[in-house]
């Protein structure tokens, strides 16, 4: 169970406003969730009967990157929301990025 992630693929939360884009794909299908429920590909139908799981309500801030070291999955939040990202029930951590000096 889960979704195939492809670089550039976009998903949205089934229970809040969160939208994400895949920066680096996972090595295989992955149980990617937001707000406790599986994410839905942008453009696909969103199940109408789900509600935000309070255990996964920490929020996903716009512009933040998330990375899962095990699968190689890396995501960017393109629309913020109340739901938090997880793989199965394991929260997806923020990517720890060292800022680069501005060169433009």
């Amino acid at each position: 169970m889960g979704v195939e992630t492809k670089s550039g693929a976009r998903f949205r939360s089934a229970v809040d406003q969160t939208e994400i884009i895949v920066v680096r794909p996972a090595s295989g299908a992955i149980d990617l969730r937001c707000g406790g429920h599986p994410v839905v590909a942008i453009g696909a139908e969103v199940p109408g009967d789900l509600t935000l799981d309070p255990a996964f309500a920490g929020g996903t801030p716009l512009g933040k990157r998330f990375a899962d070291a095990d699968s190689g999955l890396e995501l960017l939040c393109t629309k913020g929301g109340e739901g938090a990202l997880s793989i199965g029930e394991t929260p997806l951590p923020l990517k720890d990025a060292k800022p680069l000096p501005s060169s433009d």
């Binding site: 670089s7 629309k79 060292k98 000096p101 501005s102 060169s103």
Partner: protein
């Protein structure tokens, strides 16, 4: 990722921040996005598969870059300084297209099949028309072409480098923190819109939420005045600009009190100029960036901390890093290879190869120059030191082959520039009956110095085969407006003079 999404993110998360112009009454990100969406809807309806721009810097540049992306048409900024026949040839290669033009350009270029002109004033009116339709979202996907940039053609017919949305977006999201700029940060953009640095400046500033103040075209006095008046904190300059800026501030003594970060790139920066800049601007963090059009801008950076460590060090290897371009970005790979494509040992010279999502390495109508594993040969010569710092020695095509020995002009130029009387130096190979190619130089000097003194100066630093046979003293060297030396022009002139 599509550039349309990058603009949406800025407009969603930083709507009320000022994006363009003065802090008091500039355009906010919400307003910029709204105008780009109107212009995008208009450009989608207009004839042509591409959107060109032949103009100075203005609000129309970022609006057209994003408007083209929204319309799903490649943005093609063209060098307005080209002579008429060269400009006409490039415009014809851009057809079918709508081209946004500054004053007098349409008259200069004349009618061309498949080209429709729109003046800057007309384009801005479309963007500002409250009754105009606003595009919702964008057309096309991340694999489509976002920007076509004609190379400067210093060595042949200009090629159109292809940059896809995915290349540019990968560069931005891997190097820039979204909304990462402090509220008071502002950048001055004075590089022309047809330079990759002009494109990356728009995208980086938008994604980081940094206000941009544009200078129509670079002029040192105006640049200094804007930096002071607009409390500019960030700037990017090409080598020829920096020396001229320093002339202005050293003459008037006013400094650049608001400036925090000055990045330089687009060509080799003479070490004496950087030493002068650090002395004149002690509070500024210097950033040396190395990149190519074909790599969506920067691939290696020497940051402010690296500059400080190198300056403070007495150890030759550490000190030498001031002449490096720093370390490759963590989001890509760099390898140094021999002519057979095999990686060379650390410290050895070879061709710089690069691989990563931001690397396009593709030219319109010529296909990709990436190898099967996705590596791009840059045609630049360089080496990596033991700490992973990258040194760039110049274009491989400029290497002089004298009696079977390969000589890098960059090394000889650096030796000439260490002489206190030398302001600018260029070294080329010209036909030589005995050696195949002979080494000759052209210099611009500030004080009296003889050809023999300069030859002796080089001979004590490099071996005699690298000492120029002849040196020409000139009032100026032939640079293009981006600060790139026109070696082909210089080689022809020095061949006439010396061969």
């Amino acid at each position: 990722m599509h550039l349309g999404m990058l603009l949406d993110m800025a407009a969603d998360g930083m709507a009320d921040r000022v994006a363009l112009g003065p802090q008091a009454d500039g355009l906010t990100f919400a307003e910029m996005a709204s105008r780009a969406r109107r212009l995008g809807a208009a450009l989608a309806r207009r004839p042509g598969e591409r959107v060109g721009l032949i103009d100075l810097n203005s609000v129309a540049v970022p609006l057209t870059l994003f408007g083209s992306a929204i319309a799903g048409k490649p943005f093609v900024p063209i060098n307005y300084r080209l002579a008429d026949p060269a400009l006409r040839a490039i415009v014809a290669r851009t057809a079918p297209a709508t081209i946004i033009v500054g004053d007098g350009v349409a008259e200069r270029v004349g009618p061309i099949d498949g080209i429709e002109y729109l003046t800057r004033t007309q384009a801005l009116a479309l963007a500002e028309d409250p009754a105009g339709e606003r595009a919702d979202g964008w057309t096309g996907d991340a694999d489509d072409i976002a920007v076509l940039l004609f190379t400067s053609g210093t060595t042949g017919e200009p090629k159109a480098a292809v940059l896809r949305h995915s290349n540019l977006a990968e560069y931005i999201i891997s190097t820039v923190e979204y909304a990462g700029s402090a509220a008071d940060e502002a950048a001055i953009v004075s590089v022309p819109p047809y330079h990759i640095a002009g494109i990356s400046a728009v995208l980086s500033s938008t994604y980081s939420g940094r206000r941009v103040v544009q200078l129509e075209a670079f002029e040192p006095r105006a640049w200094v005045d804007i930096v002071r008046a607009e409390s500019i904190t960030h700037a990017m300059v090409v080598p020829t600009m920096l020396g001229r800026i320093l002339d202005v501030i050293e003459a008037d003594g006013g400094g650049l009190p608001s400036l925090r970060s000055l990045s330089y790139g687009g060509g080799p920066m003479p070490l004496p100029v950087i030493e002068r800049a650090v002395a004149a601007l002690p509070e500024v963090g210097f950033v040396n960036a190395y990149g190519l059009t074909e790599t969506s801008s920067t691939i290696a950076v020497l940051g402010p901390d690296d500059h400080q460590v190198a300056f403070a060090s007495n150890e030759p290897a550490a000190r030498a890093r001031l002449a490096s371009v720093g370390r490759p970005l963590p989001s890509l790979e760099v390898s140094i290879r021999d002519p057979a494509g095999e990686q060379v040992a650390t410290g050895e010279r070879g061709e710089i190869w690069v691989r990563g999502g931001q690397v396009s390495g593709e030219y319109l109508g010529r296909g990709t120059s990436l190898n099967a594993d996705g590596w791009f040969p840059t045609r630049d010569e360089g080496h990596l030191d033991a700490e992973g710092f990258l040194f760039v020695h110049g274009r491989l095509d400029d290497v002089i082959v004298r009696g079977g020995e390969n000589l890098s002009p960059g090394e000889i130029e650096a030796a000439l520039l260490e002489h206190p009387a030398v302001l600018e130096a260029a070294v080329v190979g010209i036909p030589d009956k005995e050696w195949g190619e002979g080494v000759v130089a052209a210099v611009v000097t500030s004080d009296a110095v003889t050809e023999e003194e300069l030859r002796a100066h080089v001979r004590t630093r490099l071996r005699s085969s690298r000492t120029p046979d002849r040196i020409q003293f000139r009032a100026e060297l032939p640079f293009n407006e981006s600060g790139k030396l026109l070696r082909r022009v210089l080689r022809a002139e020095l061949t006439d003079a010396f061969a």
